[in-house]
């Protein structure tokens, strides 16, 4: 991805099939990002390095990045939303509340 493509897509998909991608520049609410030709509107501000939902992720669904499970959704996450500690939790070393 060159600088021009980066400006257009704003995100990077780390593995085909991931349901989140990573912001490579700060994204503002209402910005359009592009994933494999598909346009997605950001519904939150998303900082550099933070994750955006590429499709709707239901509560208790796995969150997939790098082609691996990185946690589970703690609420329904709509496409274009910021995906982070407020709506994802680890499946590991969980104190099982």
């Amino acid at each position: 991805m060159n600088a021009e493509e980066l400006k257009r897509s704003k995100i990077v998909l780390l593995s085909a099939g991931d349901n989140v991608a990573v912001a490579l520049i700060p994204i503002q609410k209402g910005d359009i990002v592009e994933n494999s030709g598909k346009k997605i509107e950001a519904t939150d501000d998303i900082d550099f390095g933070h994750k955006i939902a590429l499709r709707d992720i239901k509560k208790d669904d796995n969150v997939i990045k790098y082609g691996e499970i990185i946690g589970v959704a703690t609420e329904n996450i709509a496409v274009g939303s910021h995906v982070h500690v407020h709506n994802v939790k680890s499946l590991r070393a969980d104190k099982h509340e």
Binding site: A23, F48, K51, G71, V83, S90, D94
Partner: protein
Amino acid sequence: MSELNAYLNPDGKAAPRNHNLILSLNSFCNTAAQGIHRSVNPTVLITHPHGRNEIGINKERLRKSLIGNALNPNVFSVLVVGYEDKSTSSFVNELRAKTKKPVESVLVLDNGTLGATKEGAEIASRLSQINSEYSREKFSISDFTIGLKCGGSDATSGIVSNPAVGKAVDRIINMKGTAIFSETTEIIGAEHILAKRAANNKVALDILEAARTNEEMAMSLGVDLIGTNPVPDNIRGGISTIEEKSIAAIMKSGSGKINGVLDYASTPPDRGLYFMDSPSAATEVLTAITAGGASIILFTTGSGNPVGSPVSPVIKITGNPYAAKKMKEHIDVDISEVITEGKSLQVGSDKVYRILEKTISGRLTKSEILHHDEFAPIPVGL
């Protein structure tokens, strides 16, 4: 392949540095050790807040990390600053049995801090001059043990710096080199990937067991890892869970076969890639892997991390364009062009490798320049 110029140490090992180490054996010997270090140039210093009344695993780990760091290839002479004769002699005798390096000692008891400082400074002056007579010779990359660590990780760690270092590690292992990576908490959620790279079934089981024990330790404390690992700066950088951090963290070890799992502060029995079971905080890991013989460290960072080691150069690598600016004084290799200009990971990896060669051959790291010589010999926590 370009030539590496390093020292041949008294034990016949290749070394990027030829340090005269002043080593404090316990907390109230630190003042004398610091006094000697300030008086005598060039010396490196190990101090720590321990050394009396430790028992069990803490005592064992303190001893192992101090002995291991004194045996590190970069150390050419050791001046032990102890309190009383019995414990100091025992330490000195153990070291002398394991190395041909000059090992000397001074005692604080009956001499006082000032007396020990004066006597120690005289000895250290002599050792510094002896060390200065070594000159650099040609070596190849396989003559060194490379330590691997990530700290202050963020989303760029998994996209840029860890995979770039991983490619450099693959290159080193392919040339019959040796590398150690660590941080047991940061394989939780990625242990299945590492287990597939194990040289044999026993190594695979050891990897899984290390992760399981670490996870159980966290759970027995009745806490979850959030806020501890990932730490707040990881979360600020976009990392949400330990799994996300771990999958990115292990990328720095490349794709090669894992030959074994090492106990805390232990030395690899052979060439190749090894995983050391240890806590994950930066200073604790550096202390453990330098005790295991790592004479040069590749350290990836997202947000930037100033940490260093008293005995081994720590090369800081970032793929984060903001950290490369804000934490410039701590960054040795900026490969953020992988993000900002779309350069390939191979370009970033080649840059890391070139700086590794230069640093082995004498280029100072930012952590050396800024006196970052942190040391944590009793690891507590996860």
